[in-house]
Every structure is written in C-alpha cells, then in structure tokens.
Amino acid sequence: MKRIQWIASAALSAYACHLVVLHATLRPVTPIDHALPLLALAVTALAAVSYPAVMLAVPLLMVSEFAIADEATRLFAFGVVVAAAFAVTVVKDEAGQRWLRPLVVTVVALVVLRWIPLADVMIGRELVLVAVALAIVVILGGGPIAVAVAVAAALATPAIPLRTLALPLLVLFVAFLARVFGLPRLRLAIPTAAILGFMMLFFAWSGVTARALPWFLRVAEKKPAQRTVVQRALTPGEAVRFDVPPAARALIISGGNIAHLSRGALLGRIEPGGLELRIGNVADWGYTRREHYYGTRNPLPSDPAGRLQGYGYGAWVGGAGRLALPDGAHSIVVTADAALPAGSTLQVEGFE
C-alpha cells in the first residue's frame, strides 16, 4: 500500500510541476524550470525514505515557479526548498532504514546536482560516478556524513576528461583505508545537513559550486554596477590607452589561455599608478567551464566580476576581476606583460 502511495505521489507531483512549467509563459523558462518535474520526483524519493511531510517541497517549488519573476531569485528559491528537503531527510533517525536512506539520498543528490540539464549528461560516466559514490557510502558505514563525503567527491569530479574519475576513486580508497585502520561509523547528522544543504542550495549552478565555490560565499551586489563594454584583447607586450568613462570606478579585466598560470603570475600593468595585474585578481575568462577545468591553476579573482553562465553542472562563471581605477584618471594605459606565453591574451572587458 505504501508503494502505491509513493508511486501515485510521484506521478501527481511530477504532473503538477509539469503543468506549472507549461503555463509559465510570461518569462524565459530556464533548463532548471524545465527540470521541475524531475525535482518533484527527487523530493518524493526523499519523502519516501524520511518524513512524508518533506513532500511539502513540491507545492513550495511550484509557488516559487509561478510567483517569483526574477530568474536568479527564483532558482535560488528552488535551491532553498531542495536544500531544506535534503537537510530534513539526513537528520532523521535511522530506525529501520540504515542502508536504504543514505543510498537513496546519494543517488537523488547526484541526479539533482549533475543531471540538469539532462541533455548534457554523459550517461556512462555518470553511472560510474554514481556507483563509486554509493561504494563510498557503503564503505563509510552509511551514516549521514558518508553521504556528504560521497556527494562532495562526485560534485568535485568534472568527469571530463575521463581520468578525473580518479578523484572519487581516491576518496573511496582513502575511506577504505580509514575503515581498515579503525575509523568508526560516524553519523554527524547536523554538519551533514549543513554541508549537503549548502551544496543543494546552489544546485541550479552546481557547476560553479564545484569549480568556483568562493563565488557563492560572497555577499551578492545589491544593484549590479552599470558596465561600459570595451572587449579589447591585448597580445603579449601590447600597450593600449583607454579613455575612462565618466563616473567609472573600476576596470573589468580577464585573460585568455592563461588557465595554466599559478597564483601571483604577472599578467600586465596599468598606468598611471603602476598597478600590477596578476593571477589572483584576474583569471582566465573561461577557466571554470567544465570541459576546461581539468589542469587549470587559476583561483577565483579576489574581486570577481565575471557573470554566471549556464545552468546546473554546466554552469560556470567568467574569470574577470574588478580592479579599482587610479584616482582621478581620465585615461589609462594597460600593458600586457611581454613574458606572457604565446597565444595568451589580456582582455579588457570594460569599465564599471
């Protein structure tokens, strides 16, 4: 009887979400909105292994869908609802469901974090990843913290190129060794709820969580500053003078083909003031893209000015950094360092 209840719940919830998305015609519908029925199924699975009241996440997702017009706020609201559902699920006492719940939560978490948009999923690699994650959960004893470790390891794995799957395998191996050497089965439900909840909070941009986590630890700008677009790429050794637009306070700058440079590497200079541009306050424009992330050594710029692009695990953030302009300067000269590798560029994106 319980199975019938959950199957019917899943079907009704998914159809309800589908209806809402179908009629949300007054604004652009993102891949995350389109995935609302999938989220309903995910939530139903969580409810089935924890509290039935977790199903309340379904109407909350729907209300967010049709009541919040601003895209970023709406997707974040989805994240809050989904995160709460996961947090509540992992803190439940384990009576009677020692294995089923952690395994279900792990699979559902990976689907939500990595399988949206569905069209981008490399099914073979994802299934391997799910298998490795489940193995980590089993090796660590199935406690809530095991779920957090498995999901975090999978999230951090781009799976492009294939060899990056070594990361979760390494975690699996370390977990195995830890257990062999006497690590007890840990529960740590509340910290797990916090970790898993944080990952799910930004599931709509899980790629950014995986590859540029500090982006989400900043206070968001209250009102994005107006940007004057320049879009000028400087080759090594090239110097260009730019007129500073009235009221501009900062220069937005990124690099091209510099992802392999480490923190502190010199990229160029700004005159007047002799301001040095280095990896750390500027990064490669596309270093957080999934397919380019392997091998990158850039950190997120100290004052990141890149824009969020894409959705789900394919989401990434531009590597542009924001640098304060010299006081009172009406024009500046930006010089790309002559020692930059061939083929790399310094990109003046604009002024703010």
Binding site: A8, L12, A16, L19, V20, L56, F76
Partner: protein, 641 residues
Amino acid sequence: MTPVWIVVLAVIGLLALPAVMLRGRTLWAYAGADALTWLLGIIVWARVPGLNPWLGGVAVAVVKLATFALFVARGSDVRWSANRAALVAAIVYTIAIPMMTRMPIDGDEPFYLLLTESVVRDVDVDLANQYRSLDQTASGRTDLVPQLGDPTGPQGEQFSRHEPFLALLMVPGYLLGGLAGAVATIALFGVLLVRSTILWMEDEGVSDTAARATFALFAFAPPVLFYATRIWPEVPAAFFFVEALRGVRAGRTKKWLPMLLGLVLLKLRFLLVAIGLLATLLWQRHRSGELRSRETRRLVLAAALLAVPMVIMYLISGDATSVHTWRELLPGPFDRYAIGFFGILADGMSGIAFQAPFYLLGLFAITRWSGTPQGFRLGILASLPYLIYLLPRHEWFGGWAPPLRYLVFLMPVLALGAAAMWERFSRGAIAVISLATAGLVVHGVAFPWRKFHIANGENAVGAWLSALHHTDYSRLFPSFIRINNIAWFGAAVVVLIIVFGLRRYRIDLAIPVAALLLAIAFAAGQRPGARIEFEDTHVEHRGGELFPELYRVFRVAYRGGWLVHGGDSMSFLAGPGLWRLHAVTGLGATIQIGERAYEIQPAEGYQEIPVVIENGGRVTLTCLSGALNLDRMDRQKAGRQ
C-alpha cells in the same frame, strides 16, 4: 521601537524559546536545527540582495518558530504544561507586538484607546474633548472623527458605540506604558487564553501529544495571533468564554458566572453567546433529569446578571442596546444566511479555509459530533444563537478588521475539537494546513496593514498574483462579499474537504493532490475569465478612480467599480465573443472597446450594454467622452441574447 531593536528582541526571544520547553536530546537536536536555520537566513540575506529585508526577517523568524513548534509537537524530551505554553506565548507575543504596531492602529482600535484615555484623564466616557485634542492621543491618529451612529448626550457629550469594559481593562497597562501598555494588556489576555485553552484540553481528556501539536497552530496563527497583539476585544472575549465553559464543565458557578458577565461586558453581541450557554445548560440538565430548584435559581440569577451590561449601556447612551436594535434579532432572508455561512467557511478574503485553515480541522470535528468532548459540544451549541444572528448581517466578515473578527471567541472551541480528533487527520492535510498557516503568519506580521481589507472581493494572494501576471487570479478565490462565479463551487469544495479531505486514509495523497490543485489553478488563472470586475488588480488602469473611494464607510453595500472620464482607459484579458457591460452614467458616455465604439445614454440605474470583443487577448476599453462608472463585464453564454 526601531527595526534594529525589533530584530534584537526577536533574536533574544527566539533563542529563549527552547529553554522554556525543550530538554536533553530534543534540546540538542533543536539547537542543531536552529543553527541551520540561522545559517540559511544569513545565506539568503547575502545572496538575495533584492529581497525586502523586513519580509525576509519575518520569514526567517516564522520558520524558526515553526521549527520550534515542530520540536514541541514531536520531541521526545519536552517539558509540557499549560504554564510553559503560556510562557512561550508571552515571549512570542512580546516579539510580535512591535512588529504588528509598526503602522498606526486602525479600525475600532484607536476608538477603544480614546475611551481608555478618557477614563484615565477625565474619569468619564465622554470623548468630546478627546476628539478636540487628538494630538494628545497615544494612537497617533489625528484623523479620528466619531464613528457613524455613535451616541451623543444632551450637553454635547460624544460617547463611543463601544462598550467601555475593554477600555477599563486597558487602564493599568495604558498608565504603565501608553499605547504599548494597552496592547500588552490584550497580549496578556492572549497568554491567559493560551493557558486556559491548554488546561481545557487537559480537562476534556485530550492527549498531551495532540495538545502539543495544536498549540502553535492555535496560539501563533491567525486569527488569535493577530488579535492578541492589537487592541480588539476578541481575544479577551475568547479567554472569558473558555473560562466560562471550563467553569460550567467543572460545575463551579462562582467561576463561570463572572466570566460570562465579563464576556458580555466586553461586547453586547456576546449576550447571545451567554443566552446560548444558559439555554444549553438548562436543556442538558432537563434532559438528564438533574435540574433542581437550586440549579434553576442559579440560572435565573445568571440571566439577571447578564442584564447588567445593558443597564450600563443604557446609562451611558440612553439606549440599552447602544447602536443596535432588537429588530436585528428578527430572521433575515434565507439567502443572507447562506451567504454568511458559506462566506465564513470559504470566502477568499475572510473565510476560515483561506484565512485560518487550521480551524477546518475543528469544523471536521463537528461532522464527528458524537466523538467530540462534551466541552466542545457545549461551546458550539452555546454559540449557535450568536452565529444565527451573525450570518445574515451584511458585515458577517467583520468589516474593517483582520479576518474572522466575529469568530475569534469561538476559536478555542474549534481548537479543542481539532485536538480531540488529532489522530484521525491525514498527516498530509495537516502538513498542507501548517504550511498555509505559516504563510499567513508571515504575510500578516510583515504587512499588518494588509489584514484590513476594503472588501472588494479580492484577497491578498489573488491580487498579488494578478499584479504579477496581469491576468485575473482573484476569480479563483471564492468571494461571498462580491459573489463571483466560483463562490458556490468553492464553498462546495471546502465542504467536501472538511468532510472527506481531512480524514486519514491508508493512502495519504493530500500533499500531491494539493499540489495538483495548485497547478490546475495556476493554469486556469492564465486564461481570461468570464467576468471582468473593473476595479480589480489585474485590470491595468490608465486614469479614472476607484468607486466607492477607499475608506467609504460600509463599502460592502455598494456595487464597486471604476469611474472613468473622457480620455481614461484600461486594459484587461478577455476572450472573444458577446459580453454584457454593467455600468451607470448620469451624463452619458461614449466608449471604445477593441475596434468598436458604443454610445451609452444617461440613466438613473445600472445598464447592461451588449458589447462584442472580436479578438481575444488583451483588450483596451477607452472612455472617449462623458463619464461612466464601470462595474463589471460578463461573458454571454452561447445561445443567450
């Protein structure tokens, strides 16, 4: 109190709550959940800069309160007693008062305060000098004028239509803290009400589990929360009613008689409740053969005592019934009873289903009459004469006041019914009701002024969605104030939900079914309706004005509409076909709808003008010349001329 101090008070209060009731593992588990909700609040604040900070803060506070309530309901180590429940209520009401009084007090509230000020300053109930020196009133309302029908004296005295008992009760509080002290007095009654209701549940054999589960849904939910933190007689009345019922059940005349007297002193309309209680008692004793001469004497004495409030009103205003007449007790037309009854049940703006859904569970208890506690049955039967008197009134919804004003006194009885039936309810239905209740609390606390409604047939959610999507969502909420197409269907659905939708089944699909209904409603709302009410939010007005104006007394008696003059226009979604425009013009007017123009002749009454909309979609109505009061436009069914 400044917003910063309100936040400080809220944080301290919310941190103190678990210390009152939770212990051991439950306390630690709550501490973890509490930490997570604080963390979530901080992240939301950091990542959603466009969020209204006040709304966000209130939402976080309500989430934390709901979390606490959940732990109280389900925790394994909870120190539960009526006194602790009252202490928790005291903390929550202390936090809520400054939130709810961010706007000037409204409705009858400033008049009660004026009466208190008159008692304190002049030791009389003549408000003439108070109206002359409104700059001295603590309410800050310098725009007050005597209410319509307020009694006057031969020497130019200006009395209030309101009974003076509440004003007298607020005197100590007012002397101690002015307006805040007066509101605190009402909150104190709220605390006493919570304590009495929990004790009553114990008296009636309700389990601790059920009492703990219903506690927050009763004490921190509409309407009790909203009336316990503002100046209305409803919460003190609820306290007196519960204590009277407890006294009767315990057979303690010395207790219930003064409580009943207090109830009637608060509001003369509660005389009907008192009469109902005495009549029920008489009938019950007669049926059981327990009616003795001593008992009869007591009931006669009680009846005689209940005349005291009328004597007081006679001495003040020269009329024992104040602004009321005995004719109001005569039965009204049947349709008025139906409108009042189903309105109280299902009206989007003022009905139980949409404004205090927890009490649907209490209504469910009525359908299982024989299984309910005796106290519940006594309370319901006692209130029948009052309800029968209330239903046919034009202002059954409570007028310019937060929703369900006239039923607040009955809420502890319904809460008792809900608690007694707790194990029979669908867990999914309880979850949906709890979620809706939390939403209502967030809305009501964040925007206290929105609880006062101009009674135009829309409700806050419908108006908000209409404004957001520029389509008519208000029509999806039943309205018995301005009866709409979905009113009777909606009422039938609510009745079905009460009878069949709340009970526990082996397969509990309450939440997914609610989600599906929500989706269907959302989809339906995107399509044009069969009626356009021109004053509604979904209509985009370019010029013209609301009719009647916003604060017209007894606004509900008018056909609402939108006044347009030459050059004014409006647009709305409408389907193609033949429509009938309901409008009135004394000057005559020429209007254009779509591509067609219509000349409307002057007439004394409302006219129905057939109009054609050729292409559906967004339609513009322009007043080309003259002036016109546009009421509504109804789509003609196929075949009708």
